[in-house]
């Protein structure tokens, strides 16, 4: 062979070798492209961002209830580098503010996934995210056989409902747990509840950033809507403190009150002495879960007299100056049915009958109404039906059936507030008619949600003149009668007391009373309707003038202090 031919042969062999190696490579690549390697990790990831429940915000911009995101931290103890175990425990203990012993105990319980920390708030979660990068640098976690590193797994828990003001506005605010609940939380659950969890799935880079290309799937996180209340939380707080004191003084079962703007129906305070902290509901709170304003019905007693009067005025069946026989305080109306007055008078005109709260006069007046007029009148004033306040599970009370109304005894009893059961909000709503020129308006606690203001339906049920007449008489009650203790100089105060016996199993029990005062406090620019109820004060002071009226007066004083009412100095 010549040099040239050997040369060509060598080149040929070399090139064939080259092609052979290329072929091996291509076969291997073909194999890899068709067979998934056992360590293959997908570059697609997904994240869920849990939506949270809406906030509840007072009129003075305090957040009364909100959800806080909580996190848990899990770890696989078997992947913790044994040499770095102490470092791991020490750092995690410092960053999460957890005792070392707790962490140590937990990672020694199992080799598999262990949840080390629960209910971590967002601030600490941020620190732990940083800590996990420190662990990565310090190589605290050993890789698996597939080369995957399982470090700190920080994941989102269901968020937790937090009420920063503890028991304030309870039980009105209520709670919501496992589809059961009370108060505003229950009533507005559909508005408040989270609408849609955020979700994203797509290709990621090595640092787990999602690539926003056309393959990415995104569902936005839609939280529940916030509720904005009419409640003035400062006022609410002061009233609640006052009620607590009053309850202790009177040794009452419960003291309730509602303050509403007369012209708009906005409830600016609604308080009870019996409250609970929704974050820690205990056995002894169970009786406090009930919202007595709408769930406690009782025989109202004398506070019904203005309603009876307004029905008579409406049907032109009374002249307020006419004089009726007051029977010297004892009226044998029917066999086995005698009516008593606390103060005895021979004769009383209608105004004075109201001032001195004469059951005897009102029994006679009530009988002037036909059964139909009386019953429909009560229905029109909102009794025996839900008050339309935005709270769930209202008890609508009870009035006599049309047939029962045929009885004169029943009608006479109704005239001064016995023989029917009402709740405090129904009374508030009915009384508000007198302070709002004869127009009835639905009380509402919430002012708006999702930027939609709440509608208050209104309805005229009394002429403005008649409403004014009743209001003026109620003013006299405060100036001269049973409500004297409520009067405050410089304000227009009016209202009616009621001290009603409590019946159990059809019998009135001696010494058990409910004491109410429904009244008005107006200045030049504001009009408020305020209802107060003391349930079962002790025997020493059961008269409304010593109980409910005191509550009313205290509230008006608080409102004066806060500038919600201003004295008219020239009056």
């Amino acid at each position: 062979m010549s040099d040239n031919q050997t040369h060509t042969l060598k080149i040929g062999i070399l090139y064939a070798l080259f092609l052979f190696v290329i072929l091996i490579f291509l076969i291997r690549v073909l194999y890899i492209s068709l067979h998934k390697p056992n360590y293959f990790t997908s570059t697609i990831i997904s994240h869920t961002n849990l939506a949270i429940r809406g906030k509840i915000i007072s009129h003075d911009n305090f957040v009364i209830a909100k959800n806080e995101k909580m996190y848990s931290v899990a770890v696989y103890p078997r992947y913790i580098n044994p040499d770095k175990k102490e470092l791991f425990i020490n750092l995690l203990s410092i960053y999460s503010n957890t005792p070392r012993s707790t962490i140590k105990h937990l990672i020694n319980t199992s080799k598999n996934r262990v949840i080390l920390l629960k209910h971590i708030p967002y601030e600490i979660q941020k620190n732990l995210v940083y800590l996990s990068s420190v662990f990565a640098i310090k190589k605290v976690f050993l890789p698996t056989s597939k080369g995957i590193i399982y470090g700190l797994d920080i994941f989102e828990e269901n968020s937790k409902r937090v009420t920063p003001f503890k028991d304030r506005l309870e039980p009105i605010l209520g709670y919501m747990r496992n589809n059961q609940g009370m108060g505003l939380e229950r009533y507005y659950n559909e508005i408040l509840k989270p609408k849609q969890n955020g979700f994203i799935r797509g290709y990621r880079d090595v640092r787990n950033h999602i690539i926003y290309d056309n393959t990415v799937v995104i569902k936005p996180r839609i939280d529940g809507d916030d509720l904005r209340l009419n409640i003035n939380l400062l006022l609410q707080g002061k009233i609640e403190n006052m009620l607590d004191t009053l309850k202790t003084q009177l040794k009452a079962k419960e003291v309730l009150t509602v303050v509403m703007k007369s012209e708009t129906g906005e409830v600016i305070a609604m308080a009870s002495s019996n409250r609970y902290n929704p974050m820690h509901i205990t056995q002894k709170d169970i009786s406090h879960l009930k919202i007595s304003h709408i769930q406690y019905t009782y025989e109202p007693g004398s506070v019904m007299k203005p309603i009876t009067l307004s029905l008579l005025l409406k049907h032109h069946k009374v002249n307020i100056y006419e004089v009726l026989n007051a029977h010297n305080g004892v009226f044998y109306f029917k066999p086995r049915f005698t009516i008593y007055d606390d103060d005895s008078f021979k004769w009383l005109n209608v105004i004075n009958a109201m001032i001195h709260s004469s059951n005897i006069v009102f029994a006679q007046l009530g009988l002037r109404l036909t059964p139909k007029e009386f019953r429909e009148g009560l229905l029109e004033f909102g009794f025996n039906q839900k008050s339309q306040i935005d709270l769930p599970y209202e008890y609508k009370g009870l009035i006599f059936s049309p047939k029962e109304f045929l009885s004169e005894i029943h009608r006479a009893s109704n005239s001064f507030g016995y023989g029917l059961r009402v709740n405090l909000i129904q009374l508030l709503k009915a009384y508000n008619v007198f302070n709002n020129n004869g127009i009835m308006i639905d009380p509402k606690i919430v002012s708006k949600y999702a930027n939609t203001p709440l509608m208050h339906t209104t309805k005229r049920i009394l002429s403005a003149a008649n409403a004014q007449t009743v209001l003026n008489i109620l003013r006299q009650v405060v100036l001269k009668g049973t409500g004297v203790a409520a009067n405050i100089d410089g304000l227009f105060i009016a209202g009616k007391t009621g001290t009603a016996k409590i019946s159990k199993n059809g019998k009135y029990i001696k010494g058990l009373y409910n004491s109410s005062f429904i009244g008005f406090a107006n200045d030049d620019t504001h009009k408020y309707t305020i209802a107060t109820l003391v349930i079962q004060p002790d025997k020493k002071h059961f008269f409304a003038s010593q109980t409910a009226v005191v509550g009313f007066r205290n509230i008006v004083n608080i409102m004066l202090d806060m500038g919600l009412l201003k004295r008219h100095l020239t009056q």
């Binding site: 070399l14 690549v29 990790t41 990621r204 090595v206």
Partner: protein, 391 residues
Amino acid sequence: MADKWIYVIVSVLMAIGLVFAYSLPIYLENRFGWSEWHFFIRFLVFSILSLVIMYLLSQCNPDKCIGKIGWFLLIVGAVVIVLMPTPVLSGICPVIKGARRWIRVFGFSIAPVEFFKVGLIYFFAWSFSRKLLPQNFTTLKDELLAIFPYLGVLGITAIYVVIFQSDLGETLLILMIFFVMLIFTKVSPKTFGVLMIAAIVVFIVGITQKSYRLERVKSALYNIYLLLPKPIREWFSLDISTVDISYQIRQSINAIHNGGLLGVGIGNGSFKLGFLSDVHTDFVLAGIAEEIGFVGVFAVLLLIAALIWRILKIANRIEIKTHNDNIYKLFTVGVAILIGLETLLNIMGIIGLFPLKGLPIPFISYGGSSMLAFSIAIGMVLMISKKAKMN
């Protein structure tokens, strides 16, 4: 006339490289806040520069130019490499990844060893044609004595590149080029065998000096072992649970798998997003495999095979009339070996069958020095091609 086909193939390879210089390094650009055109523009500038250099070199007369260029690359390359660790040049040679491999001049990083390799190929061609081609040796001792000076040169080169630049890959490449070029002299198979054994011993010593090199070799052996048929593997009964495939190889194989036969589409790759480091340089073929699949890789390798075929054809068609023609022939073969070996070492590296990384795919991988060095080599081959009878 210089060979047109080489020019065309190189241009196509560069065009492919340009597309992937835009697509692949997006994660790096993003992380360092560079423009998305950062690598594209640089690749484009170097490509144009390379094409111009190739064209200009192809116009020269080989008898006048080859020697000058060869000696220039060899001597300047050697001097620079020697001076890099000394105070003369160390100021402009930053330590990158634990080694001083680059000189920073006017904002560009130059790897002198790339140019030095081309110079060395010329030196081997020049020297072999003088010392080893003309006479027939009679004894093994004579042959070994004749080869001994080369071993000195290789030894010094290896020491410098391995110790001061910590680059075993380039050293291995230079050694392999030397041995393959030696085949084209009249050295007897016996001598060749002795030298090979010596080289393997030296290399094993080199590998065991650094633990990461040993790990890589183990990993490669493991990968080769996995390719064996099952009965043979069972016969070996190795405990392989302790052997770990390196992160980069795993990601490279993941990327190839994700690409499948046809790829996920140019720009749609996801393993380039930080999983595959050096995706625009050493692992460019894995990135290409993900985006245009097996078919794309096949096409790239076909082009490189065609390029080498064309270069070897030129070498084969040179008629030996003068002493220079021997140099040309050996040099041309040397360039084919350089391109072929770099490609093979790279592709075997990315699937973990060869324990090496850091070598580029010619004209596809991003890297100005290597591209310019390859262009100079190709330009010199084009210059020589005028002497070959291609038809």
